[in-house]
């Protein structure tokens, strides 16, 4: 059997793939946070709870209404987009002129409420969500078996991240978004409905969390705590990548997922803290993050 640094290659590749799957979730989640922070100036602490809600909606859809995984991939993000728009209109729009702290506190409170609602209904034990038939089984790559569902999560999230990046950096709509992020008042004075864009940005950011939740449902157990477990690492990713950088959050998310995977092979004791160790080092060397701009 081929070995690399004393570790069998399939085991190493397996962990690397698992790391990439985690990294895909990090990337999608931190991307949403970055876009929301840029436009709304709000650190969306509810992001993890909304991701969990996405996974639960997929599970509820399947359990109660026989909505398939594929429909959930479309319907759940739409539903969460509506939820996001309602949250923005009802609460967030009043906070833009205030310090970041208010947005953080409000969304933290929302996260607790959303999580509490699901815990109250379903307890903390996980609900299984079956892998759709089309994606069950594994691909034989010669040097390893790659579960099809993992490959799908990586491909799907890369596509979503690329599409988001492309829209923001390369299209006309994206130039409105960047302009409104940089100077909202002037951009509105050019005739762009900035308040509407802000509302939709939050809706889309939340939809992205919901989509990540649906993708996660078959890979992990659907559990009311899955959001708070993920969001802590995602915030570390955001800090490492630099708040507000689109490209940075994608690359950092994927990269840290892989680093975590490799750590599991070579030094499993620190695999759950390695992200935070890297965060501390990055903060020490580049306080604005790897891709952030110093203010």
């Amino acid at each position: 059997m081929i070995e690399l640094f004393g570790v069998p290659l399939p085991a190493l590749m397996g962990q690397l793939m698992l790391g990439l799957v985690n990294g895909s979730f990090y990337a999608m989640m931190s991307l949403g946070l970055a876009v929301i922070f840029g436009m709304l100036n709000i650190i969306n602490f509810a992001h993890g709870a909304l991701y969990m809600a996405g996974a639960f909606l997929a599970w509820m859809g399947m359990t109660y209404w026989e909505i398939s995984y594929w429909w959930a991939l479309i319907l759940v993000p739409l539903a969460l987009c509506v939820v996001g728009v309602i949250i923005e209109r009802a609460f967030l729009q009043w906070l833009y002129k205030l310090d970041h702290l208010y947005g953080l506190l409000l969304t933290f409170g929302l996260a607790l409420i959303i999580e509490g609602l699901f815990r109250d209904q379903y307890g903390v034990s996980g609900q299984p969500y079956p892998i759709p038939e089309e994606l069950s089984g594994a691909l034989n790559l010669g040097f390893m078996f790659l579960p099809k569902y993992r490959a799908w999560v990586i491909v799907a999230s890369l596509l979503v991240c690329f599409a988001t990046w492309f829209t923001i950096e390369k299209t006309r709509l994206g130039s409105y978004l960047r302009a409104a992020t940089e100077n909202p008042k002037l951009t509105q004075a050019f005739g762009i409905n900035v308040p509407l864009m802000v509302m939709l940005t939050y809706g889309l950011g939340v939809a992205l969390a919901g989509l990540a939740g649906v993708l996660a449902a078959p890979a992990l157990q659907v559990n009311p705590l899955m959001g708070s477990n993920l969001i802590i690492a995602v915030f570390a990713v955001v800090v490492i990548g630099g708040m507000g950088s689109i490209f940075g959050s994608i690359v950092t998310g994927l990269g840290l997922g892989m680093i975590e995977g490799i750590t599991k092979v070579f030094y499993p004791e620190i695999s759950s803290t390695v992200v935070f160790i890297i965060m501390a080092i990055v903060l020490f060397i580049r306080p604005a993050g790897l891709f952030g701009r110093e203010k």
């Binding site: 960047r178 302009a179 509105q188 004075a189 050019f190 005739g191």
Partner: protein, 235 residues
């Protein structure tokens, strides 16, 4: 030729938070006219422009643009009536390239200038089209700030201190551009500190003081009012 009113500001009061900045501004700009607002630092000229665009805090009074009452409109609705705003701080976006800055403002009216026409009028911008917006020189940024509102089909241009801090050759070039824009039929409200720049361009002038119009001067009255202007503006 009878004058058609394009912009009429009446008894305009504007606030930034608790500070009451405009105390009953009254002014009229007719279609195709170039009108200048003169005044000392802090007189309230920038605030007048920002109030017209809906960018100050609370506003009261009346602002009619092309027959529409805009005092309660949101800024994007005001812009969509065909108003182009070139702010005092220029407001070039650093996250957009020169050309993206130029193409960013959406259409607000018909018959704007084409990109080719704009590049013919501002050849520097063509050379710098791929530069990051804020990596350009002050003069280039000023040209860009003006150029980007000419593409949109705006008929009323609000230009705030466009000659400020620029080399004499560039100021001269800007004067030529304003003349060309007048020929094309644009209606222009020009805030200026630089009296020598504004005087030959403006059909009429308003002297602003303490958030009010202190005096209106027509082009042909310039000579007779010279004493007054000298005292007021130090020119």
């Amino acid at each position: 030729m009878s004058a058609v009113e394009y912009l009429r500001v009446s008894d305009l009061h504007a606030f930034y938070g608790e500070s009451h900045i405009l105390h009953g501004m009254d002014l009229v700009v007719n279609k195709g006219e170039c009108v200048s607002l003169l005044g000392r630092n802090g007189a309230g000229r920038t605030t007048t422009m920002r109030a017209i665009m809906g960018l100050t805090g609370r506003r009261t009074g009346s602002i009619m643009i092309n027959g529409n009452q805009t005092i309660n409109m949101a800024p994007h609705k005001i812009a969509q009536l065909g108003v182009g705003y070139c702010p005092e701080e220029r407001g070039i976006y650093s996250s957009l390239s020169c050309e993206e800055n130029l193409l960013m403002p959406p259409r607000v009216g018909s018959g704007g200038m084409s990109l080719d026409e704009i590049y013919a009028m501002f050849p520097n911008l063509y050379e710098r089209r791929n530069s990051q917006g804020t990596r350009m020189s002050g003069g280039e940024q000023q040209m860009l700030a003006m150029a980007r509102i000419l593409r949109t089909g705006a008929k009323l241009l609000l230009l705030d201190e466009i000659s400020e801090g620029l080399a004499p050759v560039i100021v001269q070039r800007l004067a030529e551009i304003i003349r060309a824009l007048k020929e094309k039929g644009f209606t222009i409200l020009l805030v200026e500190q630089n009296f020598r720049f504004a005087a030959p361009l403006a059909d009429r002038m308003y002297v602003v003081e303490h958030g009010q119009v202190a005096m209106e001067i027509a082009q042909h009255e310039l000579d007779s009012k010279r004493e007054y202007l000298h005292e007021f503006l130090g020119v």
